[in-house]
């Protein structure tokens, strides 16, 4: 084949690939918006589901997703940041411990999400919760069953690798000269991390957090057995209550409902809400990072 022809072919293939991706995104957005927008209104956002979930709103699912996401972030971010600090600052590259942690993080990142759900069921509910009940409640069932705390913790495990990797990357972008400047002024290693390395990694920490949050907000499998409920007539009042979630709500309406066709408008509208939620979270992340970068300059 002529070299020029090859060029045209390559350009054609790459162009088509891009078009396919754009087509998929546009289709998803178009179908969701067309199907969901007419049903999206204030009542839908602020009401409980009604009539076997064929009518009414998704208020408890929004609240449940938000609360679950917050607890997840509170659990995953500090833990992830601390691990990332250890990997980037303290562990020697050649140490067996650091290699083990890295291997574990990589493995954790590729474990299917349903496995996290099963792990959460076995570990948090079956082991931690059961033992808490034994010790604190004299065996009465409170923590040894699915609830929002265990679901959030399970989700935190799922998103932990994302946090660790993005924070470690951010920490490593702090130039060695900055650390040396601090150490040469008589700062200890911890003072250097606290006052030079971490402030410089804020954008990475935020990115990690938001990526984790937006991934966690939409995941269903990890919370299937660990806390998400089919329908609740009330919002969760304590960490030991179950909760409704947007992703799970879509799943049950499309698979478990007695009248799937009747729930279709609600499904579309719920999907649209979930998409808007994750998109706006990402937008917040982008804006925050932009501001921090601008301030750093």
């Amino acid at each position: 084949m002529n070299r020029n022809v090859k060029d045209i072919v390559v350009e054609g293939i790459t162009g088509v690939s891009v078009l396919v991706i754009i087509f998929i995104i546009v289709t998803i957005l178009a179908v969701t918006i067309v199907g969901g927008w007419p049903n999206l209104n204030l009542t839908f956002l602020s009401e409980f589901p009604k009539d076997g979930m064929t009518k009414g709103g998704i208020f408890p699912a929004i609240v449940g997703t938000a609360v679950m996401t917050i607890i997840m972030a509170v659990a995953a971010v500090p833990f992830g940041v601390i691990t990332a600090i250890y990997l980037a600052e303290y562990a020697s590259e050649k140490s067996i411990l650091a290699k083990t942690i890295r291997f574990a993080v990589k493995t954790l990142a590729v474990v299917p999400s349903i496995i996290f759900g099963l792990f959460g069921l076995g570990f948090f509910i079956g082991f931690v919760g059961k033992n808490m009940d034994g010790l604190l409640n004299g065996g009465a069932l409170k923590w040894g069953q699915p609830n929002i705390l265990w679901a959030s913790f399970t989700m935190a495990l799922l998103t932990l690798p994302v946090v660790i990797v993005s924070v470690e990357e951010a920490i490593r972008t702090i130039p060695r000269e900055m650390r040396e400047a601090s150490l040469a002024l008589g700062a200890t290693k911890w003072q250097t991390i606290r006052s030079v390395v971490l402030p410089g990694s804020v954008s990475g920490i935020l990115t990690g957090t938001i990526l984790a949050v937006s991934r966690g907000a939409g995941e269903v499998a990890p919370i299937l057995f660990t806390g998400a409920a089919y329908f609740l007539s009330d919002l969760p009042h304590s960490l030991s209550d179950q909760f409704m979630s947007l992703g799970y709500h879509i799943y049950i309406m499309s698979t478990q409902s007695s009248d799937v066709d009747a729930t279709l408008p609600i499904q579309f509208a719920t999907t649209l809400v979930l998409l808007l939620l994750t998109f706006s979270l990402n937008a917040v992340a982008v804006i925050l990072r932009y501001r921090i970068r601008k301030r750093a300059k």
Binding site: S92, P175, E177, M178, R179, E180, A181, S182, L183, A184, L185, G186, A187, T188, Q191, S195, V196, P199, G200, R295, A296, K297
Partner: protein, 252 residues
């Protein structure tokens, strides 16, 4: 000649099995400027970094011998490296202010040492910036980012930041190599002022700079100390042929 501030005895340093410094011995006098010259890779920067133990940060470095500062071996097991580095400050080749305001850069050292009272910090910041001859240029923008200043100003901010910790010795690793001639002249002028109060050790690639700024000059080559003497002797009448060849530009 002033009293000896730093006495180095048979100091050797290896990266892995690779020798970088071979049994260096030298005396560095107090409140004078000592310059290290030599071709790239000769060990002068490595040697400078042994004086405040910055090489500790690098894996796989082995150091033998002694460095006595005020007659105390800084490689002794009981030495607190953090205190050592407060006493022996360092200015780097590439100016490295933190991504903070001018004020916070200067106040960094005092703050990590536990000073938090604003009036004391204000005083230290002003005094250090004046000492580093940059007060007039930045006094109206103390709370702007230090990164918004020019390269030469940034380097003087770094010097002020070091002075704020109140060191006795200041190590400078090619402090003007990335600066234009006017900024370089300002740094050299500053070195001249600072030696009244501080012991200064400067690594430089620029032989005119060594000749202009220093009282003593040491030539390094391949990890050896070739010759050390008063600067005017090194540049006019060196004892070794190798020194003469280097300063006249015949090698290196």
């Amino acid at each position: 000649m002033n009293d000896i501030k730093v006495k180095v005895k048979e100091l050797s340093l290896r990266y892995g099995t690779n020798p970088a410094l071979k049994k260096i011995s030298m005396d560095i006098p107090e409140k004078m400027v000592t310059a290290f010259i030599g071709p790239s890779g000769c060990g002068k920067s490595t040697f400078l970094r042994t004086l405040n133990r910055m090489n500790d940060l690098i894996d796989n470095v082995t150091i033998e011998g002694e460095v006595l500062i005020d007659n105390i071996n800084i490689y002794d097991k009981n030495i607190d490296v953090v205190n050592l580095r407060k006493k022996v400050g360092m200015i780097f080749q590439k100016s490295n202010p933190f991504a903070k305001s001018v004020y916070d850069n200067i106040a960094f050292g005092p703050r990590i040492n536990g000073i938090s009272q604003k009036s004391i910090l204000d005083e230290i910041v002003e005094k250090s910036l004046k000492q580093a001859a940059i007060w007039d240029e930045v006094k109206d923008r103390l709370f702007n980012s230090a990164l918004s200043l020019s390269g030469g100003q940034q380097q003087r901010i770094c010097i002020a930041r070091t002075l704020a910790v109140n060191p006795e010795i200041i190590l400078m690793d090619e402090p003007a190599s990335a600066l234009d001639p006017i900024s370089t002249a300002k740094i050299e002028e500053l070195i001249h002022e600072l030696k009244k109060e501080y012991t200064i050790v400067i690594v430089t690639h620029n032989m005119q700079q060594a000749a202009r700024t220093s009282d003593l000059t040491a030539l390094f080559y391949m990890g050896d100390l070739v010759e050390m003497n008063k600067t005017e002797i090194i540049f006019s009448n060196p004892a070794r042929k190798q020194t003469e060849d280097y300063i006249s530009g015949r090698f290196g």
